[in-house]
């Protein structure tokens, strides 16, 4: 599956177990502001890896390093 912001957004919805999210038009918006906590972050990573068939290196798996859509895209671009 291609890495797109839609894919990331969809994984985020699944991780947060919600149907809709507040606007994420600003791709630098801190995802913790829309409810992503440490437990949701684990689900987010598990979902992303399963959906995209990738393995995110351990050094990136920190909420602080993947807390905006742009940062997530950047990390995923390096592993693809």
């Amino acid at each position: 599956m291609d890495i797109t912001f839609e894919t990331i957004h969809s994984a985020l919805l699944e991780a947060l177990d919600v149907a809709v999210l507040p606007s994420l038009a600003d791709r630098n918006r801190d995802l913790t502001e829309v409810g992503l906590d440490s437990i949701g972050f684990i689900r987010f990573i598990v979902t992303l890896e399963a959906e995209l068939g990738v393995e995110i290196p351990e050094e990136y798996i920190l909420l602080a390093r993947m807390n905006t859509l742009n940062k997530v895209m950047q990390v995923l671009s390096t592993v693809k």
Partner: protein, 520 residues
């Protein structure tokens, strides 16, 4: 599923991370937003955690043995060292469990240990080793918890359902201390759901069984008794095994009945004379064997046994019969018998292995003697005459602690004749320890049988005023004027008693109205 009219509160004590999937799965199964508190096993007895646990409906303890003893697999062949580890872990479990039991009244569910993560078999093969360490440990924990009716879930069996490849999350283990996949955690959540339903007691009480191609293979009226398929090997073995399963359900308190389009004499001949039958006439509370339609037969069974239609599960191999019962009697759960999935279809029963065989024997006897009562009723001229002829005796006494389990069971099972309050044994003990609270047990017998403990009520005196708290009566004695006699007893012995509060169950309006009429 909101089983008790309120959201579920669960405390999870663990040394691993499961919360990223557990809550999500629990909420999807219970169809509610449960409150789940995750408490690290280290430090779980801090006051703030104890306060949280005391408010929980369930406490799940899930300890991972690798986290407790990382070197457990390196003790191969060192029996003495392994024995020390074994004792240390068991002691740790005992301390946690006994302290928990001392602090909280909630049901405790313990997740058993497992050692399928052991990669040693890759080099030594799949042989038993480590002196059966994990199984012995689980057995000792099970024995410890059984003393207070708590339970241990067989985690090894859960893993076996999906296999180790799909159960373990190696990345998760080293990233965030989460050794199990979402699939395995889902199975664990499903098991918690099942156990919660068992704790809240089974809603289904009776199975109505078709005979041909359900209890035996073939058509009795066409093939004859000598040609039906029922044997200890070959195709007939399936039916014998199914009968064994039914007999186990009977032992666990499920009423077995028969509804069949056949001649009664032929069917009874099979039950009494066929050497390969596992079920015998004595196991069947009611035979409705005639050429009437199945819906009529089932309705008669409900009347004879004095049980509600929604407590009945009907099993038949004919889609026509299943559909017709579905349409005429929508309250009855009709199950299409198929060899490949009949056992999973019966997972709608939620039964506890913690049962009292004597009580169940009395209950089964009562259902069977209900048939005799029906015959007597038909013979007597009026209902009053019939009640007199039954020679019913009611014994009301302060409940003793041996009766708490039965009263708890009764409070959970009663649907019609109840104020709607459902208490676990722990909750009953808590009530009893309240100043001014008295719990009464009601035994009933008649000329046909001793029905045993069939009712209970609890009264609390506060500032000189009596309040009725618990009131429940088994449906087995409904319609025999016993509820009125009990209300009269309560009214006479507890002057100006008031009904404290009631929970309507959609079926108990009649009783609540009766209580409010006489007691308030």
């Amino acid at each position: 599923m909101d089983i008790q009219g309120k959201d579920l509160n669960i405390s999870v004590i663990s040394n691993i991370t499961i919360e990223h999937f557990f809550g999500m799965h629990i909420n999807s199964l219970f169809d509610t937003s449960s409150e789940i508190n995750y408490i690290p096993s280290n430090g779980c007895f801090e006051n703030r955690h104890i306060e949280v646990m005391q408010k929980s409906d369930l406490i799940l303890v899930w300890l991972n043995i690798r986290k407790l003893s990382p070197g457990i697999l390196s003790n191969i062949g060192f029996k003495d060292e392994l024995q020390i580890v074994y004792k240390d872990i068991l002691e740790y479990v005992k301390v946690i469990y006994l302290k928990l039991r001392n602090e909280v009244n909630s049901k405790i569910i313990w997740m058993g240990f497992e050692d399928y993560f052991d990669f040693l078999q890759e080099v030594v093969g799949n042989i038993l080793h480590n002196y059966n360490f994990i199984d012995r440990l689980n057995q000792e924990i099970k024995d410890l918890l059984s003393e207070t009716s708590d339970i241990v879930i067989d985690l090894k069996r859960l893993i076996s359902y999906i296999g180790t490849r799909d159960a373990y999350d190696t990345k998760g283990l080293y990233r965030w201390n989460s050794p199990y996949t979402s699939d395995l955690i889902y199975l664990a959540a499903k098991e918690i759901f099942k156990q919660f339903r068992i704790l809240k007691r089974n809603e289904k009480k009776c199975i109505v069984l078709d005979c041909d191609n359900v209890l035996w293979g073939g058509i009795l009226s066409e093939d004859g008794i000598e040609n039906i398929s029922l044997a200890s090997n070959g195709p007939g073995q399936f039916f014998q095994d199914f009968q064994r399963f039914l007999l186990t359900l009977h032992t666990l308190g499920i009423i077995l009945t028969v509804s069949s389009k056949n001649d009664l004499s032929d069917v009874l001949k099979v039950f009494n004379s066929h050497s390969e039958m596992i079920l015998r006439e004595e196991h069947i509370a009611s035979f409705q064997v005639n050429w009437n339609n199945k819906a009529e037969q089932i309705q008669l069974i409900a009347v004879v046994l004095n049980i509600s239609l929604d407590s009945i599960v009907f099993i038949d191999d004919s889609i026509f019969e299943v559909e017709s019962v579905n349409s005429i009697l929508p309250d009855v759960k009709a199950v299409l018998f198929k060899k490949e999935n009949i056992y999973s279809s019966l997972s709608l029963f939620n039964l506890s292995l913690d049962f009292d065989a004597n009580l169940i024997a009395i209950r089964n006897n009562t259902y069977q003697s209900n048939v005799h009562r029906t015959v007597l009723k038909e013979k007597t001229a009026s209902y009053e005459e019939y009640l007199n002829a039954l020679d019913t005796k009611i014994n009301i006494h302060i409940a003793d602690d041996l009766e708490y389990y039965r009263i708890s069971e009764l409070s959970q099972r009663a649907n019609k004749c109840t104020v709607g309050k459902r208490y676990t044994v722990s909750e009953i003990k808590e009530k009893i320890s309240t100043k001014g609270y008295k719990l009464y047990a009601v035994d009933v017998s008649d000329k046909f049988s001793d029905l045993g403990l069939v009712g209970a009520f609890g009264v609390i005196q506060l500032s000189g005023i009596y309040y009725l708290d618990l009131f429940c009566l088994s449906c087995r004695v409904l319609g025999r004027n016993i509820e009125n006699q009990l209300i009269s007893y309560v009214k006479t012995n507890f002057k100006d008693i008031k009904v404290e509060s009631c929970i309507r169950t959609q079926k108990n309006d009649g009783l609540i109205d009766l209580l409010l009429l006489h007691l308030n």
